[in-house]
């Protein structure tokens, strides 16, 4: 009956933010685009996020962060993903991330950063075009 591969996306909030409106808006938009979106809730450690991505077998992870701790938390997440062999998962990020940090984050493997005010269509289009092929 079901033969088309569904895109599964994890929307995660690492660190100590207390607001997740942006993350929920993105989650909702991806859901409405036909994807299965798993949301972790607030205040997640890199370990929890990576373990969740593994158990849920997601194709894509979207990280949302407002606290300014991205330079500490994102590299840890990327490191754990590679340790657990989840190198075929595409990671994008959003939230409050200064321009000057973007190059560095892309260097560690974050595919794209979406700043505040990005239209959700842009994110949907990006995910659809960049979701990795399964081996």
């Amino acid at each position: 009956m079901q033969s088309k591969k569904k895109i599964r996306v994890l929307i995660a909030k690492p660190g100590l933010d207390s607001h997740d409106r942006g993350a929920k808006v993105v989650a909702r938009a991806l859901r409405d685009a036909g994807m299965e979106v798993i949301y972790t809730g607030l205040r997640q450690t890199p370990e929890q996020i990576v373990e969740t991505a593994l158990q849920e077998d997601v194709d894509v992870i979207g990280l949302s962060i407002l606290s300014g701790a991205h330079k500490a938390l994102f590299p840890r997440i990327m490191e754990l993903l590679s340790q657990k062999g989840l190198t075929d998962v595409m990671v994008f990020a959003g939230g409050i991330i200064p321009e000057e940090d973007i190059a560095e984050l892309k260097k560690i493997g974050i595919k794209e950063i979406f700043g505040p005010g990005t239209p959700t269509e842009t994110i949907i289009k990006y995910v659809l075009e960049n979701v990795p092929e399964r081996a």
Partner: protein, 320 residues
């Protein structure tokens, strides 16, 4: 990963393999059947528990506390949390994990969110397969959470051995939310959020509904009160579940004993009939006569038996 590698990984309890196996089952690729066939001989050990009830009754929070209690007892646990897919876009928002996130990094726990993908009955077609995969991977307890909105969401009985129907006071009309379908499938009722007022009324309403049930059953579904937020009542729930599992095992044993007794009875009847018939035939003298004929090769034993019995059988059918 090839299917063989995934199967090997699942049987070894490897989490990546378990995750991938469930995806294969969900996407229902041609490989899915091969995968399930390969792991099937390794299933049948876990206690599979279905938890259902209306949205807002606190299922996820209760499950989180149940997992902790099972872990405290040294059991490994798998959780499959099912949420509906959008009938319009096919997308789904799977948020049940939020209340269980702290369990994510516990190696003895595997949690998987699953969308119904528009399969009627409140569970996904792949839910059954996911349960088998977790069972084959060695999980002692498998909890399947579904939203039970009404009478059609009873598919869970095809998946789980023990069904817990969760309700909470204040969710509209107490009876409305647990009408026929859910009432009938429950092995255990839970009134969660028992710290709220009207919890006792909810218990009484369920009791009243159960009393209307005219069917005599060997298992009487108990009604428990829990407060998932504080964990109150959770250990009693686990106790009841263990009791129900023992009951099921005893039922199985009872069924097997019944089959054994039946086989013995059939054997005994056969022996009696043979003795009675042979004795009678001997008295009539026909038995000796035919024996001689067999010895002289005038008739074969099978035809002789037919000849002997034809009259007897006619008599038996006439009497019947």
């Amino acid at each position: 990963m090839t299917i063989d590698e995934i199967v090997k990984g699942v049987l070894a309890g490897n989490r990546r393999s378990i995750a991938r196996a469930i995806t294969i089952a969900e996407d229902n690729t041609p490989e899915a059947q091969k995968l399930i066939a390969a792991i099937y001989p390794h299933t049948g050990k876990a206690h599979i528990i279905g938890l259902t009830g209306p949205g807002g009754s606190g299922k996820s929070t209760l499950i989180e506390k149940m997992v902790r209690e099972y872990r405290r007892k040294g059991k490994t646990v798998g959780v499959v949390a099912v949420d509906p897919s959008s009938p319009f876009t096919g997308g789904a928002f799977l948020g049940d994990r939020i209340r269980m996130q702290e369990l994510s990094t516990d190696e003895g726990v595997f949690i998987r969110s699953m969308a119904t993908r528009n399969y009627a009955g409140g569970i996904a077609k792949a839910t059954k397969d996911a349960v088998k995969i977790l069972d084959a991977a060695g999980k002692d307890i498998i909890l399947v959470e579904t939203v039970g909105a009404g009478q059609s969401e009873v598919e869970i009985i095809k998946v789980a051995q023990s069904i817990v129907v969760i309700h909470a006071p204040g969710l509209g009309d107490d009876i409305q939310a647990i009408k026929a379908g859910l009432m009938e499938i429950a092995d255990i009722f839970v009134v969660n959020k028992a710290d709220r007022e009207n919890a006792d009324k909810a218990v009484m309403d369920i009791q009243a509904m159960l009393q209307l049930n005219s069917k005599e059953t060997a298992w009487k579904p108990p009604i428990l009160k829990t407060t998932a937020l504080t964990g109150e009542g959770v250990s009693q729930l686990i106790e009841k579940l263990e009791e129900h599992r023992h009951f099921l095992e005893k039922e199985e044993e009872r069924k097997k004993s019944l089959l054994r007794a039946e086989a013995e009875l059939v054997e005994a009847v056969k022996e009696k009939i043979v003795n009675v018939v042979i004795d009678e035939l001997k008295k009539e003298g026909k038995f000796e006569e035919l024996l001689q004929k067999i010895l002289n090769r005038k008739i074969d034993p099978s035809s002789a038996a037919e000849k002997l019995l034809s009259g007897k059988l006619k008599k038996a059918t006439r009497n019947a």
